[in-house]
């Protein structure tokens, strides 16, 4: 599978062709450019070109106080802004030894899981249209509006929430918000069953996705894949279990894995994760303790000299912030380990030897967000 047979050994000699897919292409999920070398329909080489959204966001942190950087993290992976906010705040909290109150920890988990559902729904919608099932796009975005309404009620924004603070959350949840979330949980589960009937058990969908773009477990690890892309290859690795943060070690949930390693397995993992998120949300409001939601920090936060490495499980995988401080008011270096960036490295390997139409499906199954890849 690694290399396609050379042109000369073929019986029918076809002329090689270069095809430029993107940056403006409806199925590249943003501005990714793939330079494909084709032999007929078959992909001989694939060179992803990234950087069309590069803005040097890591450098921005070096001239801003810690708190002022939170809005920038929103715009990294804009499908799960809260996970980015959270990973950044957690890095500063680790650097400056700030404790987060217990109530804030539980509320953070609720927000993160809601955001995970919203993000996976966008995946479901766009992936559906990638394989030609446009109806799924409309259904998924209908469900997503319910999540966004809930998040808007608490944060006031639809997409870029900017709602985590260093040391907790800026405000408690509004009254009866928990009831709304629980209602949503009851609403969401039948919708997922509906989706199973609509898409998962659809024969055309299965033929398009099963056995396509297979990543073996060893490959997945050596490429540094993470999140559903890694778990789709049968590796049980989830930062929420591996290095539990916030209240995750008090909550009961499964790490979903599938053994196939193909596009369908990655899809299945994400659908299962939505069910698990609903499960976690229910538990959060059973266990939610009373108390403060924000640890007070000084007006201008100064972190002691040193380094911190914070990792969280974002919907796309392991999202880490590496931060160094020299004791001043802003970090000297911030590095973001973007899960999409790492997951995209495997695309070249998966694309070679497949048909062009499968490249679109494989790319869709990696679920990348270019804002995060390019940083």
């Amino acid at each position: 599978m690694t290399t396609a047979p050379a042109l000369e050994t073929r019986e029918i000699i076809t002329q090689g062709m270069m095809l430029n897919m993107g940056p403006q292409h409806p199925s590249t999920h943003g501005v990714l450019r793939l330079i494909l070398t084709l032999d007929g329909e078959e992909v001989v080489d694939c060179d992803p070109v990234i950087g069309y959204l590069h803005r040097g966001i890591e450098k921005f942190a070096e001239r801003r106080p810690y708190r002022h950087y939170i809005p920038f993290t929103d715009r990294l992976d804009y499908l799960c802004s809260l996970a980015n906010n959270h990973s950044y705040c957690q890095a500063v909290e680790r650097l400056a030894w700030i404790e987060v109150p217990e109530r804030a920890q539980y509320l953070r988990v609720a927000l993160l899981e809601l955001n995970r559902i919203a993000s996976h729904l966008v995946f479901l919608g766009t992936f559906g249209s990638d394989v030609g099932a446009t109806t799924v796009f409309l259904y998924a975005f209908r469900e997503r509006e319910h999540v966004l309404d809930l998040l808007e009620e608490i944060t006031g924004a639809r997409l870029t929430y900017n709602w985590m603070r260093i040391g907790g959350l800026p405000a408690d949840m509004p009254e009866n918000w928990d009831k709304g979330v629980l209602e949503f949980c009851d609403y969401m589960e039948p919708r997922l069953d509906e989706n199973d009937r609509l898409l998962t058990n659809n024969r055309i969908f299965r033929v398009r996705t099963e056995g396509v773009g297979v990543v073996s477990a060893d490959e997945a690890v050596s490429y540094g894949l993470s999140g559903p892309t890694l778990r789709g290859s049968g590796i049980r690795h989830d930062i929420r279990k591996f290095r539990p943060y916030e209240a995750y070690d008090h909550l009961d949930f499964q790490v979903c894995t599938e053994s196939g390693g193909d596009v369908f397995s990655r899809y299945r993992v994400r659908i299962q994760e939505m069910r698990e998120s609903v499960k976690v949300l229910r538990q959060v409001f059973e266990k939610l303790p009373e108390g403060p939601i924000l640890t007070k920090t000084g007006k201008l936060l100064k972190a002691p000299a040193g380094e911190a490495y914070s990792q969280v499980e974002s919907p796309r995988g392991e999202l880490s912030f590496y931060m160094r401080s020299d004791g001043g008011t802003d970090p000297t270096r911030l590095h973001i380990r973007a899960p999409s960036f790492c997951n995209l490295t495997v695309l070249r390997k998966l694309a070679i030897g497949t048909k062009i139409a499968d490249v679109v499906v494989i790319l869709g199954s990696l679920d990348i967000v270019l804002g995060e890849v390019d940083r």
Binding site: G30, P71, F141, E145, R158, L159
Partner: protein
């Protein structure tokens, strides 16, 4: 025909026995058709593209206004620049714009496309897409809400209706939606 219910300016209905006739200037009929089939280039850059998708999806349903997303610039009338424009991307946006047939309109959606947004002090970001292509509508927000985008596009439709289509068009002041 979408959201257009009353007849646009320059189109009159005359009742006659057994029905009615419409008389109109050619310009207004053509503009009526143009504004009701404003096909947009499906071209998302960053965060705003997600809101653009949400606007096109079931809840907000941009199809009501006759705005459909086309995958190729050759079939598009409107380019919604949804996101920040980097130096690496700018020549490609310029090329896409040049590939679109006249008459064409550019919508700068959100702070980044309008003026660089939060990335105004980044040297890889072009401070507003209006430095490379002429922009007709600026939409405020980071990202703008779907309602805001729809409002901006409706304002553009209003302008298209009033535009002299067959005569030479002059450059108008851009619309700013706040």
């Amino acid at each position: 025909m979408g959201a257009v219910e009353e007849l646009p300016d320059g189109v009159q209905r005359h009742d006659v026995p057994g029905g009615s006739i419409i008389t109109a200037q050619l310009d207004s009929v053509l503009n009526w058709a143009r504004k009701s089939s404003m096909w947009s280039l499906s071209f998302g850059l960053s965060c705003c593209a997600i809101e653009m998708m949400a606007t096109a999806a079931s809840h907000y349903d941009l199809d009501r206004f006759g705005i459909m997303f086309r995958a190729t610039p050759r079939q598009a009338d409107v380019m919604i620049v949804a996101g920040w424009v980097s130096v690496k991307m700018a020549p490609l946006i310029k090329r896409l714009w040049d590939q679109m047939p006249e008459p064409k309109y550019a919508v700068a959606m959100g702070g980044c496309a309008s003026a660089g947004g939060p990335y105004r002090d980044s040297e890889t970001i072009v401070k507003g897409v209006d430095r490379i292509i002429p922009v007709s509508v600026y939409i405020y927000g980071c990202p703008p809400r779907p309602e805001n985008l729809i409002y901006g596009l409706m304002k553009l439709q209003e302008r298209i209706q009033k535009e002299p289509f067959l005569a030479k068009r002059r450059q108008l002041e851009p619309i700013v939606v706040q």
